[in-house]
C-alpha cells in the first residue's frame, strides 16, 4: 500500500511538471486564424493527456527501477504474480472510453475547422513547380502574393499544374494538398493583421525547399483598395510582362540579375547568341523566345536540363506571351 501511495505522488508531480512545461515553453508559433484557435485548443487537451500518460508509465517505471531492484546477493525469484483479469479489463475499458471521447472531441474540432461561411471570399490557388499564383476571379486579379482581408473567411480553391504540392501557412495551422486532376479546398479566417509565408509542405522536386509565397492580412478597406488598383490593367506591356513573370512561376527558375538558377537568366538574354545542347547556335530573337516558352524542350540551352513545364501555351494567352517577351527585351541592351 505504501508503494501505491508513493508512486501516486510521483505520478501527480510528474504530470504537473510535464503538463506545465509543455504548455508554457512556446511550442507553436503565434496563431493567426480562427481555425487555428480551435486547433490550438485541441492541442492543449492533447498535451495534458500526454503529460498524464507519460507520468503514469514513467512514474511506475522509475519507482520500480529504484525501489524494486534486486538486493545484493539475493538470487531468489520475485513473487509469483501471474496477472489480474480485473485490472486488465480496467485498462482496456477505461482507455477505450477515453479514446472514444478524444475521437468525439476531434470530430467536433474538425467540424469547426471546416465550418462554411456562405459569404466566404473565393480565391483560386494554383501551385506549380516551384511557385504559387493567387487568382481573385470576381475582380479578375492575379497575384503572386496572397492578400486576405482580416476577419473574413476565405475559401481557397486549389489546383496543381504539375505534381502534388501542399498549402501551409504555419500561423493559420491548416494544411491542404494541391492534387493534379482535382480541386481541393481549405477555409481560412485570418484574425491577426500581418505578413506570413506560404510554405509548400509536400515534396515537389528540386526547389521544393524554396516554394514559398508571401501572405498579407490587411484590414477590409485596404484589401478593397488593393483589389481595385490591381484590377486596373497597366498600359505598359513591359509592366504587364513583369506581372506574368512573377505570377506564372518564371521567376522560380530564371533570374533577372544574371545569376544561374534552374534555367538561363533573363538578363541580357534577348539578342544574345545561344549555344544549344546539340552544339548549334542561334540568336535569341522574338521567334526564339516564343518557341522557348510554348515548346521549351525543342531548344534546350547547353548546360541546362529539360525542367520547364510544357503547358505554357495553355496557361498563357498569346497576349501574355508577347508581354512577357517585351519584358525580357527590356532587360537587354542588345
Amino acid at each position: 500500500m505504501k508503494h501505491i501511495v508513493g508512486v501516486a505522488l510521483v505520478v501527480i508531480i510528474l504530470t504537473m511538471l510535464v503538463g506545465i512545461l509543455l504548455n508554457t515553453m512556446g511550442l507553436l508559433p503565434d496563431v493567426a486564424s480562427l481555425q487555428g484557435r480551435y486547433i490550438d485548443d485541441l492541442f492543449q487537451v492533447h498535451t495534458w493527456i500526454i503529460a498524464f500518460l507519460f507520468a503514469l508509465i514513467i512514474g511506475f517505471m522509475l519507482y520500480s527501477i529504484i525501489v524494486f531492484r534486486r538486493k545484493e546477493g539475493d538470487d531468489s525469484d520475485a513473487d509469483h504474480i501471474e496477472g489480474n483479469n480485473k485490472l486488465e479489463v480496467t485498462w482496456t475499458v477505461v482507455p477505450l472510453i477515453t479514446v472514444l471521447g478524444v475521437a468525439a472531441l476531434g470530430a467536433n474540432t474538425l467540424s469547426k475547422v471546416t465550418a462554411m461561411d456562405p459569404q466566404a471570399m473565393e480565391v483560386k490557388v494554383v501551385g506549380q513547380q516551384w511557385a504559387w499564383r493567387f487568382e481573385y476571379p470576381e475582380a479578375g486579379v492575379v497575384s503572386d502574393v496572397l492578400m486576405l482581408p482580416q476577419d473574413q473567411q476565405a475559401l481557397l480553391l486549389m489546383e496543381s499544374a504539375d505534381v502534388i504540392h501542399s498549402f501551409w501557412v504555419p500561423e493559420f495551422r491548416v494544411k491542404q494538398d494541391l492534387v493534379p486532376g482535382i480541386t481541393t479546398e481549405v477555409r481560412i479566417t485570418p484574425t491577426e493583421l500581418g505578413e506570413y509565408t506560404v510554405r509548400c509542405a509536400e515534396v515537389c522536386g528540386l526547389q521544393h525547399t524554396y516554394m514559398l509565397a508571401d501572405v498579407k492580412v490587411v484590414p477590409e478597406a485596404e484589401f478593397s483598395n488593393w483589389l481595385a488598383s490591381e484590377a486596373l490593367v497597366a498600359d505598359d506591356p513591359v509592366a504587364r510582362g513583369q506581372k506574368v513573370y512573377e505570377q506564372y512561376g518564371c521567376k522560380a527558375c530564371h533570374s533577372l540579375d544574371g545569376s544561374q538558377l534552374v534555367g538561363p537568366t533573363f538578363l541580357d538574354a534577348f539578342g544574345h547568341t545561344v549555344t544549344l545542347e546539340d552544339g548549334t547556335t542561334v540568336v535569341a530573337d522574338e521567334t526564339y523566345l516564343y518557341q522557348s516558352i510554348v515548346d521549351p524542350n525543342s531548344q534546350i540551352v547547353q548546360g541546362f536540363v529539360a525542367a520547364m513545364p510544357q503547358n505554357f501555351s495553355e496557361q498563357l494567352s498569346d497576349e501574355q506571351i508577347s508581354d512577357l517577351i517585351a519584358f525580357i527585351k527590356s532587360l537587354s541592351d542588345n
Partner: protein
C-alpha cells in the same frame, strides 16, 4: 566423395554476385539486340530495368537457389528435409545457400546491420546539411548533380527506404532464428523456401542501392506520382528493388505462419506459446496479406513511366490519390511488423530480469493480434490532407485512435511485470527499458497526429519525423539491439562484453532522446519535412545543430556495438547454456545451439513465464544430460 579444395567460388554469395553481373550484362545485350532488330533506338529506361531483372535471377541461379527444384524438375530424387553439405564449414555456410534456420536468421541479421549502416550514412549526410540554415554541402546548382539538391533528396529518400528494408530484414532475422527454437522445432516448415526468402533480398537490395548510380530520386521513400514520373531513372530502381524485396516478406511469412501453427512441441497449446512467437505470427499475417499492395502500387507506377499507362495520370483518366491508398495499405501495417516484433522481444526480456511472470500473458499475446487487425483499418490517417473524400477522415481518425487500446494493454502489462519484481540491469534489460521509454514517446505523440484537426498542422512537419523515429527506435531498434545482446550467447557460444554494452546504451539512449525531442520541437515551430534549407527566422538553428550532433553520437554508439560483436565473437568468454536463468526452451540447449536444435523429444510441462513458482519448469527435454551440456 572426394573433398574439393575451398576456393573463392565455394562461397555461394560470390557465385551469386558473379551471376548478377553476368545476368545484367546478358539482359542488357539481349534487349539492345532486340531493339536493334526492331529498329528502335537506345532507350536507357526499359533496357536497364530489364537488365536488372535478369541480373536478379542471375544472382539466384548463381548461388544455387534453384538447384534442388531443377533436380526435382528433371525427375531426380531430393530429400524433403534438406541439410547443408558437410563440407560447408565456418564462414562458408554463412555465405552460401544454407537451409538451416539459425544460419538464415544470422544472415538476415548481418544483411540488416549492413543496410542499417548504409541507411544511417545517408542520414548523416543530410544531417550535416541541416546542421545550420543555408546550403553547406549540397551546393551544386546543376539540376542533375548528386552534389546539389537532387543529392540531398536522394539521401533522405534512400535513408527512409533502406532503413525500412533493414528493419524488415531484422524482423526476419529474429523470427527465423527464434521461432523454431522457441516452439521446440528442428527447423522451419520449408527450409529451401526460407533460404530463397533471404537470398532474393540480397540482389533486390543491390538493385535498390543502384538507384544512386542512375541519378538518384527526389520523391522521398513514398515515391508518390506524379513527382515520381518526372524523377531520374533512379526511381525505377527503387521501385524494382522494393518490389522484388517484397517477395522475401511474402515467402518468409508463409514459413512463419505454417511453422507456428503446425510445428509446436508436444503440449504447447497456443496459449502456452512464448509471446515472441505470437508476435512473429501476427507480423507474418500482416506481411503475407499486405505486401502485395505496395508491390502493386510500385509496379503500376513503373508501368506508368515505362508504357505510358495512366493509372495515376488524371490526363488519362487516372487518379493521383489512388496510389497513396494502395501504398499506405501496406506501408502503414508494415510499421506494426517492426513494432510488434520489438514488443515481443521486450515481453520476453522483462520477466527474465524482473524474475516475475509476464503480467497478463494472454492479454499481451492476444493484444498483438488486436494491433495487427486494427492496423489494417487505419492507413488513410497518412492522407488527412491528401485530398481524399472528406467524409473518410472521421472514421479513419476513430480507427487510428483505437490502436491505443491494445497498445495500452502492453504498456500496462509491462509496468505491472516490473512492479514488485527483483530487477537486475544487464545490457539487454537496459535496452528493453529504454525501448519502453522511447516507444512511449512515440505512442503519446500519435494521438495529436491521429485527430484530424491537429494533424492538419503537424502533417509533413518534423513533428511527424520525431514521432515515427520514436516509434521505430522504441518499437524496433532498441528491442532489436536488446535481442542481439540477449541471444548473443545462443548464437555465438560466447558472452558479449558487458562494459561495452553499457557504454553503447548510455551513448545511444540520451542521444536518441535529444534527437527525437529536437525533431518534434522544430516540427511544431514550423520545420517542414524533406527540405534542404530552412528559414533562420524560425529560430531553430540551435536545435538543428543538436539533432545533428545527436545523430553522430548514435552512429558512434552503433560502432561500439559492431566492435563488441566482433570482439566478443572472437575473444569473448565462453557462454554457459543459460546465462539469464531463463525458462525459455532455447536456453535449455547448450550454447551455441547445436546443429539440429532438439534432437530429443521436448515436451511442455508448465507455463512459459512462471518465474517465482517453486519447482516448475516450462519444458522438459527427455535427455537430462543435454540441458547440463556444460
Amino acid at each position: 566423395m572426394e573433398r574439393k579444395k575451398t576456393t573463392l567460388l565455394s562461397y555461394g554469395v560470390v557465385r551469386g554476385l558473379i551471376g548478377q553481373v553476368i545476368g545484367t550484362v546478358v539482359g542488357l545485350a539481349l534487349i539492345s539486340l532486340l531493339r536493334l532488330v526492331l529498329g528502335m533506338g537506345w532507350n536507357p529506361e526499359p533496357s536497364w530495368i530489364f537488365a536488372m531483372l535478369v541480373g536478379f535471377f542471375g544472382f539466384l541461379i548463381g548461388i544455387g537457389a534453384f538447384s534442388d527444384w531443377l533436380k526435382a524438375a528433371r525427375g531426380q530424387e531430393i530429400t524433403p528435409h534438406p541439410h547443408d553439405p558437410e563440407e560447408w564449414t565456418g564462414l562458408r555456410r554463412y555465405l552460401s545457400f544454407s537451409v538451416d534456420h539459425k544460419v538464415i536468421g544470422i544472415q538476415y541479421g548481418v544483411w540488416s546491420l549492413f543496410l542499417l549502416t548504409v541507411g544511417g550514412t545517408f542520414a548523416l549526410l543530410f544531417r550535416i546539411e541541416l546542421a545550420s540554415p543555408g546550403l553547406q554541402m549540397f551546393t551544386s546548382t546543376s539540376a542533375t548533380s548528386l552534389l546539389g539538391l537532387t543529392g540531398f533528396a536522394t539521401a533522405f529518400s534512400l535513408h527512409g527506404i533502406v532503413m525500412i528494408a533493414s528493419m524488415l530484414m531484422g524482423v526476419a532475422a529474429m523470427s527465423n532464428y527464434l521461432m523454431p527454437l522457441m516452439i521446440g522445432a528442428q527447423d522451419m516448415a520449408f527450409p529451401r523456401l526460407n533460404a530463397l526468402s533471404f537470398w532474393l533480398a540480397v540482389p533486390a537490395g543491390i538493385i535498390l542501392l543502384s538507384s544512386v548510380a542512375f541519378g538518384g530520386f527526389d520523391t522521398g521513400w513514398v515515391g508518390y506520382p506524379p513527382l515520381s514520373t518526372r524523377a531520374p531513372l533512379g526511381v525505377q530502381m527503387f521501385y524494382l528493388g522494393i518490389f522484388l524485396n517484397g517477395f522475401s516478406g511474402i515467402l518468409g511469412s508463409i514459413n512463419i505462419i505454417v511453422t507456428f501453427l503446425t510445428m509446436r512441441a508436444k503440449g504447447m497449446s497456443l496459449l502456452k506459446t512464448p509471446v515472441f512467437a505470437w508476435t512473429a505470427f501476427s507480423t507474418a499475417i500482416i506481411q503475407f496479406t499486405a505486401t502485395q499492395l505496395i508491390g502493386l502500387s510500385f509496379v503500376m507506377a513503373m508501368f506508368q513511366r515505362l508504357f505510358g499507362m495512366g493509372f495515376f495520370d488524371p490526363a488519362k483518366g487516372g487518379d493521383v490519390v489512388l496510389f497513396q491508398h494502395l501504398f499506405w495499405f501496406y506501408s502503414h501495417p508494415v510499421v506494426y511488423v517492426f513494432v510488434l516484433t520489438g514488443l515481443g522481444v521486450i515481453s520476453e526480456i522483462l520477466p527474465v530480469f524482473a524474475r516475475k511472470p509476464l503480467f497478463g500473458y494472454k492479454w499481451v499475446a492476444l493484444s498483438s493480434l488486436g494491433i495487427a487487425l486494427v492496423g489494417f483499418f487505419v492507413w488513410a490517417h497518412h492522407m488527412f490532407t491528401a485530398g481524399m473524400a472528406p467524409y473518410l477522415r472521421v472514421p479513419f481518425m476513430v480507427s487510428t485512435l483505437l490502436v491505443a487500446v491494445p497498445t495500452g494493454i502492453k504498456f500496462f502489462s509491462w509496468i505491472a511485470t516490473l512492479w514488485r519484481g527483483k530487477l537486475v540491469f544487464p545490457t539487454p534489460m537496459l535496452f528493453a527499458l529504454g525501448a519502453i521509454v522511447i516507444f512511449l514517446l512515440g505512442g503519446l505523440t500519435g494521438p495529436p497526429a491521429g485527430t484530424v484537426a491537429t494533424d492538419l498542422y503537424i502533417h509533413d512537419t518534423y513533428f511527424i519525423v520525431g514521432h515515427f523515429h520514436s516509434t521505430m527506435f522504441g518499437g524496433y531498434i532498441f528491442p532489436f539491439i536488446a535481442a542481439i545482446y540477449y541471444w548473443f550467447p545462443k548464437m555465438t557460444g560466447k558472452m558479449y562484453n558487458e562494459r561495452m554494452g553499457k557504454i553503447h546504451f548510455w551513448l545511444m539512449f540520451p542521444a536518441f532522446l535529444l534527437m527525437t525531442l529536437g525533431q518534434m520541437e522544430v516540427g511544431l515551430l514550423g520545420m517542414r519535412r524533406r527540405i534542404a534549407d530552412y528559414d533562420a527566422a524560425l529560430g531553430i538553428g540551435t536545435q538543428q545543430f543538436a539533432i545533428t550532433v545527436a545523430g553522430f553520437l548514435i552512429a558512434l554508439s552503433v560502432a561500439v556495438l559492431f566492435y563488441n560483436i566482433y570482439f566478443s565473437a572472437r575473444y569473448g568468454q565462453k557462454a554457459v547454456a543459460n546465462p539469464w536463468r531463463s525458462r525459455s526452451p532455447e536456453f535449455q540447449l547448450p550454447s551455441p545451439v547445436p546443429l539440429h536444435n532438439y534432437d530429443r523429444p521436448i515436451e511442455v510441462v508448465g507455463n512459459p513465464y512462471d518465474y517465482g513458482l517453486p519447482g516448475s519448469t516450462y519444458v522438459q527435454i527427455s535427455a537430462p544430460e543435454l540441458a547440463a551440456g556444460d
